[in-house]
Amino acid sequence: MKRIPLTAWIGLAIITLNLAALLFGPLLAPFGEEDILGGPFDPATALNWFGLDQNGRDMVSRLLFGAQMSIGVSLAASLLSFSVGLPLGFLAALRGGWVDTVLSRLVDTIMCIPVLISALVVLQALGSSLPVLIVTIALLDSTRVFRLARILGQGINVMEYAEAARLRGEGAWWLIRKEILPNAAAPLIAEFGMRFCFTFLFVAGLSFLGLGIQPPYADWGGMVKDNQQGILYGLYAPLYPAAAIALLTVGVNLVVDWLLAGRTRPQGEGR
């Protein structure tokens, strides 16, 4: 293993911290998610490090509880959108013809409706439960993954090494797994980092409209919304969850940059 740069260490530390909150948040939280401990926006004390929120609940505890919802939902949705979008995109690139046409036009149709509107319609119709939320976001997001995977696949599919594999008689599974995927990995890893962060913000946006994660459960996006009027009074309350989102976004991108560094160097360098 090559030496890990400082930025990657910072990113890894941030992600580890968030993962800990994701896995053990409720155990670490000093207070309950819904416990009302005082008045709205009470300042920080030795017990409530970040003060209280708009309903007088402990900010630290809600951040820890919220990690589970926010990170869990975003991670699940991103993973699902990739596992749907990638194979279909590669398949469309590989097969071409009517397979490509049908899939691409379907995706175009979904993409020409703004994501937020599609999500609102689905969530309104089916009700906003966690599985529905995750699957809706994942499927809407997978259209973008599909587009990226398809264009990457098309580019690699016309390379002579892919042609050599096809002439050898290799099937679609080998071509996708061994010829296309390793060579498309760099942009896909970058995309995953981005998608994860966007999903985060999208969940927050849905929460803002009341269709995301439902109260009384805490999630970081919803907490920004709930505490927003605090900004008017110069309070820090909405900044804590916002900072948590920003921190994780930065952390993910630092790690993604490090993962990509080895793949974006000129040929032969550093070997």
């Binding site: 892919a162 050599a164 594999a165 002439l167 008689g169 061994k178 390793p182 060579n183 990995a185 040929q267």
Partner: protein, 266 residues
């Protein structure tokens, strides 16, 4: 000797109806080297793509060892695919940059012959020895190889399939003269040792002269002359062959003037 490749009345048209090659009759005997020369756009590579099944012909027959080849490679069985191997012009894009040399050479061994583990390792080492590379090259990625080494690996990958026919499409064009020389000597040696038939596509007449038993000359999608290499390169020349030969630069000060003068009077 029997023919490994027989082409009769081959005609290929582009989707827009343009004729790419037509009226091609070619024979290639087992273990023979057939040189295919002609200027760019004369249809040499088109012919290679038809034989490999990448470009189905409009009319005509292609037979391998007397057996009719399905027009598209997708309709060919694994063994048929194994028997025809292609070596590309640009070794940089013919090797997957994310697969080590060992993986590239080892895959045909697994795919066609089911070799795994130790047996496969030994065979990879043997093939690497055949192309003059040390066994530890197996762990390298193509990015860490020179152009000539990459082309050697491509040749080894083709040889791994134990083909009856190897199509070499301008294999030395992207290499500098000294490395090209090495590759040619390697191909010559392999041909002597293994007796694989080569279809050697090139526009370098010197290469054909040295390597090919027989030569076919193509012009505008048509084979205008074919025969034993010595005959092709001994006067009297076919009109087009003569022009090709005259266009090989010679180290004389007035060479170009003479060629141009001869062309205007002709």
């Amino acid at each position: 000797m029997t023919d490994i490749l027989t082409i009769r009345g081959l005609r290929v048209e582009a989707p827009d109806g343009a004729v790419l090659v037509h009226g091609i009759d070619l024979d290639l005997k087992k273990g023979e080297v057939l040189g295919l020369i002609g200027e760019s756009g004369s249809g040499k590579s088109t012919l290679a793509r038809v034989i490999t099944g990448l470009l189905p012909p409009t009319a005509g027959a292609v037979r391998l060892d007397g057996q009719a080849l399905p027009p598209s490679y997708t309709a060919r069985g694994r063994d048929l695919l194994r028997r025809i191997q292609l070596v590309y012009q640009l070794p940089d894009v013919a090797l997957n940059p994310r697969q080590t040399v060992g993986e590239a050479i080892g895959r045909p061994l697994t795919f066609y012959f089911g070799l795994k583990g130790r047996e496969q390792k030994q065979e990879i080492a043997r093939l690497l020895g055949l192309i003059g590379l040390a066994p530890d090259f197996a762990d390298r990625l193509p990015g860490a190889l020179s152009g000539g080494q990459k082309q050697r690996v491509c040749i080894a990958r083709a040889l791994a399939a134990k083909p009856d026919l190897m199509i070499c499409d301008e294999v030395t064009s992207a290499l500098d003269p000294l490395v090209a020389e090495e590759i040619l000597r390697l191909l010559r040696r392999l041909q002597d040792e293994l007796g694989v038939a080569y279809l050697f596509i090139t526009h370098d007449l010197g290469v054909v002269r040295r390597l090919a038993d027989r030569t076919a000359v193509m012009q505008r999608g048509c084979v205008v002359e074919q025969g034993p290499t010595e005959e092709i390169f001994t006067p009297p020349f076919h009109d087009y062959t003569g022009r090709l030969l005259a266009s090989v630069p010679e180290l004389r000060r007035d060479w170009l003037d003479q060629v141009l003068a001869a062309r205007t009077t002709a």
